[in-house]
Symmetry: C2
Subunit: 402 residues, 2 copies
């Protein structure tokens, strides 16, 4: 925690079961001084060297800041399901090694000569993209995530402005990113608990805003994981009444702790039937193939269901009759633009919204992945990058499931 | 045609291949005087007496106008695919007999004492609904088609304000409808060609307006039947650039005659690929089960595909990745409210938009149904109700396909 600040929003929600809080002060990293080497720096990281390697210790190179670049000493990086899919080759073969991580929070260690918006010591963040073409209609409209030439992902993407070099993500001590894609992290937010805002937060905030949720409107949330728990908090902060859909009653208490006004156990047909035509919006965060018709039925006239996770298999067909009879929309949404991400971070600071996290050390990453796949985390793992430098000896090739 | 009016918009588009124009003046019906009988009137009609009867001559009863009622001497009634499904029992068993027809145009013959908006002789129309609860949020918002208690359909529906009597539709000489559900048909419109506006017109107009199509935006239309050809004309009248999707090149000429700016033959993968990310909105009028992903791919950021016809079987699953990567919406829409239907009729009068029709006599209805199922009509059959009184001897039980 930041010294001298008594209680930060969300600080009470940070759980540290996978690391030793005493030995790993999250926001102090005295050994990570800005390098003055002319040709970039080598930093410790953790990543996959093949689809079956699991996460292993690596050393990667970071460029020195170009005139528009911000160099960031990473403090924390959230673990997203995308990281699991990518490092296990589940989204296709990729160039290796691959250092995942796109929920990055740290402090500015150096800035390029043209950088105006950031200074050394600022707490900043990087989300799912580190650049885009900046010229297409969508980029000019501030929705860089929909760049017509494709945004440059924070990891595993060829970076055109840097010689096509493969980007490497936030499971590392340092990253260098063009100023336009760096976010300000309000000091009022606990930095570890704020990290998941950069992906899970903006992914749920953006469709809530795009739909235009207003106070008193009724929002349903399907799935109570990293995205789902953010959707509950954000929708509540916007003044909505929130209903959580859960397969079993076991998560009811957790849903209400997060602020849900109602819980519907979807294995009970009577509860589902009673919820018909009650909601204005459903945020569906489930990645496993499922049947959205159950949730479409809970929508009122002009309601919308936003699906936010790419399913791992084929979904059940949508019943067009449901859409026609109440003018419903079945929609998708992808993270958010840079300006909207900043808006979301400022909104979270104002409303005290952060993620519930478990801090994890580098040597616990593979175990954390397995627990994520099993749904055994409340609600987001966050890597403490201070544990990278000391080595990650226990990570073994092949430990991760392909 | 109305005497004394030289050329009405759309009059040139009326084709009369199934009836004899000379012997059946469309807008004169001298034998249909307003009845003064105290207990309603018996009128000639055509309907189904079972799912296998086909359409046969019938005599049905119409109530005398209650204080808020408008009695309409029907001149024309469009033939909608819904009529085929309903009379052939394809949407489930129903009480028989069933007189279909919900694209009704005629002249007011009597009005109830409280009716203020209509006078005897006015040209009026009735669409897919003749009442609703008038109390629910949706009715109060003017979207009676989404009445929470269910709108009262123009045929085959129990009518709560009239003792639960089954409504009977427009394949008849007369209908009595509460004033609130009667539309004004601008005299500038050819009455026969205007009839399909009451269903096919409003069904396509409403999503175009709901999406908010603006001049210069690009609208795709899937399916070039009754609905599709209206969508082309209406979108063009709104200033959109219109692209028609058709399975074979055979309809290209017809599409361009309707005003389409471009035609994409969907059996040609190269044409489909070239159309990716070019459209703002797709109006999908196809009722047969199909794969909407091909059309979703043609949408730009924030684009929407509106499906307007209930498919007769299960649709292919939607790829959520398409929705997510461009924030698309897959939506439905059902006809339009009464106020919006009036707005559409006035818009059509202003822009000279009507349907392309083939007039059909009562004894040609069963043949017309078969041709509709075969897609062999450009683009809407309209019944000339003047042919009802003379008998419909050629319609035989069992002629219609169940």
């Amino acid at each position: 925690m930041s010294p001298g600040r008594p209680v930060l929003p969300g600080a009470d929600k940070v759980r540290r079961t996978l690391t030793d809080e005493a030995s790993v002060p999250p926001s102090s990293a005295p050994t990570r001084e800005a390098s003055t080497a002319p040709n970039g720096t080598d930093v410790a990281a953790c990543g996959a060297t093949s689809a079956t390697s699991g996460l292993v210790p690596l050393v990667i190179h970071r460029r020195d800041p170009k005139p528009d670049d911000v160099e960031i000493d990473i403090e924390f990086c959230g673990l997203c399901h995308s990281d699991v899919h990518a490092t296990r080759g589940e989204w296709g073969e990729r160039p290796w090694p691959l250092v995942p991580g796109h929920e990055i929070v740290g402090r500015v260690s150096r800035v390029g000569v043209d950088v105006l918006g950031f200074a050394v010591g600022d707490r900043v963040g990087v989300g799912c993209m580190v650049d885009s073409c900046r010229e297409c209609e969508n980029c000019l409209d501030g929705v860089e995530q929909y760049c017509e030439r494709g945004m440059v992902g924070t990891y595993g993407a060829a970076d055109p402005r840097n010689g096509g070099e493969l980007t490497q993500g936030g499971y590392s001590q340092r990253i260098v990113v063009t100023e336009k894609f760096v976010l300000r992290i309000p000091e009022a937010l606990d930095p570890a608990a704020a990290a998941p805002l950069l992906c899970a937060g903006i992914t749920t905030y953006s469709p809530l805003r795009y739909f235009g949720v207003e106070p008193g409107e009724r929002v349903g949330v399907v799935g109570l994981g990293g995205l789902g728990h953010m959707a509950v908090r954000l929708a509540k902060a916007m003044g909505a009444e929130v209903t959580v859909f859960t397969r079993s009653d076991a998560k009811s208490g957790a849903a209400r702790e997060l602020g849900a006004d109602a819980v519907i156990v979807t294995s009970d047909p009577e509860q589902l039937a009673a919820a018909r035509r009650t909601l204005d919006l459903v945020i569906d965060t489930v990645a496993a193939p499922h049947d959205v018709n159950d949730y479409l039925r809970t929508l009122r006239l002009d309601g919308a269901l936003f699906q936010l996770s790419l399913p791992s298999g084929q979904m059940a067909p949508v019943d067009p009759g449901l859409l026609i009879r109440r003018r419903l929309t079945y929609a998708g949404s992808l993270i958010g633009g840079i300006a909207e991400t900043q808006e979301m971070l400022d909104f979270c600071a104002e409303h005290g919204v952060v993620s519930d996290i478990e801090l994890v050390a580098a040597d616990g990453l593979n175990e954390a992945y397995d627990r994520m796949v099993a749904g055994d985390v409340k609600y987001r793992f966050v890597l403490d990058t201070a544990t990278l430098a000391a080595g990650t000896g226990s990570a073994q090739a092949g430990e991760g499931q392909a």
